[in-house]
């Protein structure tokens, strides 16, 4: 299912749309927003246990190239390099027996290469969809229940995301952007304080608000 979504996203992102006459150019972008991290099921030889998280935040920056009408054979859209940082606080731990509170923080730092297809027929509005792939460093920072530690570990894994949203051209060089991102990691693995390895998950829904500056 994820592979199909990835393929569909790639195809959509590569779809060309007709464009208004404009030259391509580089841009810088900044964005931030909310992150909802899906409940995490962890699998280990000792059994499965779950994490639940509070809503969190993300911040990111991009540098990219807007194709505009420079490459009609490719289409209209953008290619960008993105660095982002996400964080969610641990809300709940689920074992066979009750947990005694939960605290800790998950942070993910990612570097992504995004390709974005943009529809430029209705300026100043610019609806877009896109896909991205890259690498991320995920940290389970000081997960504890009460006074008792659970895990404090990190892993570096493949990351991917799907993007959709729309931009608004404020001026000839400035755009505002409201978007959604499904951002996920492939099978991060950690070791708990008892030395037991467990396979984890990370999948998020993100709403972002950002600005982009052509230069």
């Amino acid at each position: 299912m994820k592979n199909m979504m990835l393929l569909a996203g790639c195809l959509l992102a590569l779809c060309s749309t007709s464009a208004l006459a404009a030259e391509g150019g580089f841009y810088l972008g900044l964005h931030g927003g909310g992150v909802i991290l899906e409940g995490v099921k962890n699998e280990s030889r000792e059994g499965d246990f779950n994490f639940e998280f509070d809503p969190g935040w993300l911040a990111g920056a991009t540098i990219g190239y807007d194709l505009r009408d420079t490459y009609p054979n490719i289409g209209t859209g953008r290619v960008e390099l993105e660095v982002a940082w996400r964080t969610n606080d641990l809300d709940k731990l689920e074992f066979l027996q009750p947990s005694i509170g939960a605290s800790g923080e998950t942070t993910v730092a990612s570097v992504m290469l995004n390709t974005i297809g943009e529809y430029r027929e209705n300026l100043p509005w610019l609806p877009y969809i896109g896909v991205g792939a890259g690498v991320a460093r995920i940290t389970l920072d000081n997960f504890t229940q009460g006074a008792y530690p659970l895990v404090d570990d990190e892993d570096t894994v493949f990351a991917y995301q799907f993007l959709a949203g729309f931009g608004y051209q404020v001026s000839s060089r400035v755009y505002l952007d409201l978007g959604y991102r499904y951002f996920a990691l492939l099978d991060p693995t950690f070791t708990d304080v008892t030395g037991v390895k467990f396979d984890s998950e990370y999948a998020t829904h993100n709403v972002t608000l950002g600005a982009r500056f052509d230069f």
């Binding site: 909802i36 991290l37 000792e46 246990f49 074992f95 027996q97 005694i100 229940q145 008792y148 659970l150």
Partner: protein, 393 residues
């Protein structure tokens, strides 16, 4: 404006988050330290020569407790009086009379339990239930209750040796589980040989005629095609693993738009693509058997000689058996030679004819060629496969 748009976007996100994969945890919360162990047993003493099960309950920092009987390591203060043959089971065996202390240890925590191995001796054994009955092929579990010299009664099922006086009637295995072998009655005997003379107890077990354990429908149908029929039979499955036909089953289909079934004969007729459950009710046993019938769409048909080494050329007077293989919508294949309708076209010089007695068999009549087609369905739903046959002199 922006706030309103943000709210509209966040609402579906919250719904998406609620759709996350649910999973019941299976791991113990071993991250909270174990701070105490409580040992318990059904009794505070046991006669020597017999076993008793101890249990251990772990207290995890006051947050919760759980059974740790099989996690803990068991021992006694004097193994000459009470011993644990398996240190991780909690099953103690009295060796000699005297007071002992039982220990259960796990992760640095220790439970302590005072216990006594008594010198009471076994006086008698009662085997229950007595009398008992079981259908041929069925099982009956017996229990051995020992009465001791101090009037103590104790379940000693696992301490005795079980035997049958008539193994052709019933057998019995360790733990007191007897199985009916043939009609008749026999004694199921529990023997304790730890003292001399040995103490025995017995119960009478009568094996009766096998009982009906279920209704089985057979033969299992393949994925049927529309208008195909399939005859099911209902069988009573008996406790001795034999079967007998159900003479007057009442048949029904859960989805008659998918397949109907003749209420008396069990002949299923496929009506439309889908899945239905065919049931056969047996009034004698009061049980009902079910079978799932799937009706599939045919994507394509391939017609080939039935014998793969045969070619498509025959002589006048020679016959050739063809096979129609259907590829179903789920990508499985099945032989539909006997289901398909066979037709001829492009039959120059009346080169071949269809054998009216055997579906898919053609006979060479005259030199020439003919196209032989296997068809299923009608109108827009028709699917066909064709092979060209050449007849030589």
């Amino acid at each position: 404006m922006i706030k309103r748009m943000l709210g509209i976007c966040l609402l579906p996100l919250l719904l998406l988050a609620a759709c996350g994969e649910d999973s019941d945890p299976t791991r113990n919360n071993d991250f909270v330290p174990l701070t105490g162990i409580t040992i318990d047993s059904a009794r505070g003493d046991i006669p020597f020569g017999f076993t008793i099960q101890f249990t251990a309950e772990g207290d995890f920092s006051g947050a919760f407790s759980r059974d740790i009987t099989t996690d803990a390591t068991w021992s006694s203060s004097d193994p000459a009086l009470l011993t644990f043959d398996d240190p991780n089971r909690g099953l103690g065996r009295g060796v000699a009379p005297g007071p002992v202390t039982v220990f259960a240890n796990l992760n640095g925590a220790e439970g302590i339990f005072s216990f006594t191995v008594s010198n009471a001796t076994l006086q008698s054994i009662a085997v229950t239930p007595n009398p008992a009955g079981v259908a041929k092929g069925g099982t009956q579990r017996f229990q051995a209750i020992g009465t001791f010299s101090d009037s103590l009664t104790l379940d000693i099922t696992s301490d005795v040796t079980w035997s049958s006086a008539g193994v052709t009637i019933a057998t019995v295995e360790a733990g007191g589980l007897a199985k009916g072998v043939d009609l008749g009655s026999t004694e199921i005997i529990a023997t304790y040989s730890g003292i001399t003379p040995a103490v025995t107890g017995a119960a009478t077990l009568t094996v009766t005629a096998p009982s009906v354990t279920g209704i089985r429908l057979s033969p299992e149908p393949p994925i049927l095609i529309v208008n195909e029929t399939w005859e099911l039979s209902a069988l009573r499955v008996l406790s001795d693993d034999t079967t007998e036909p159900v003479a007057s089953a009442v048949w029904s289909s859960s989805h008659t738009n998918i397949a109907t079934v003749d209420a008396a004969t069990g002949v299923v007729t496929a009506r439309a693509v889908g899945t239905t459950t065919i049931s056969a009710a047996d009034a004698v046993s009061g049980l009902t058997g079910t079978a799932t019938v799937t009706v599939g769409a045919v994507n394509s048909i391939e017609v080939t000689p039935a014998v793969t080494t045969d070619d498509q050329i025959i002589s006048i007077g020679e016959s050739l058996q063809l096979r129609a293989t259907a590829t179903m919508s789920n990508n499985t294949t099945r032989d539909i030679t006997s289901v398909a309708t066979w037709t001829l076209s492009n039959n120059q010089t009346q080169a071949v004819s269809l054998d009216s007695a055997v579906r898919g068999r053609v006979i060479g009549n005259a030199a020439g060629v003919a196209d032989v087609t296997a068809n299923v369905g009608t109108g827009d739903q028709r699917v066909s496969g064709t092979i060209r046959i050449t007849v030589t002199q």
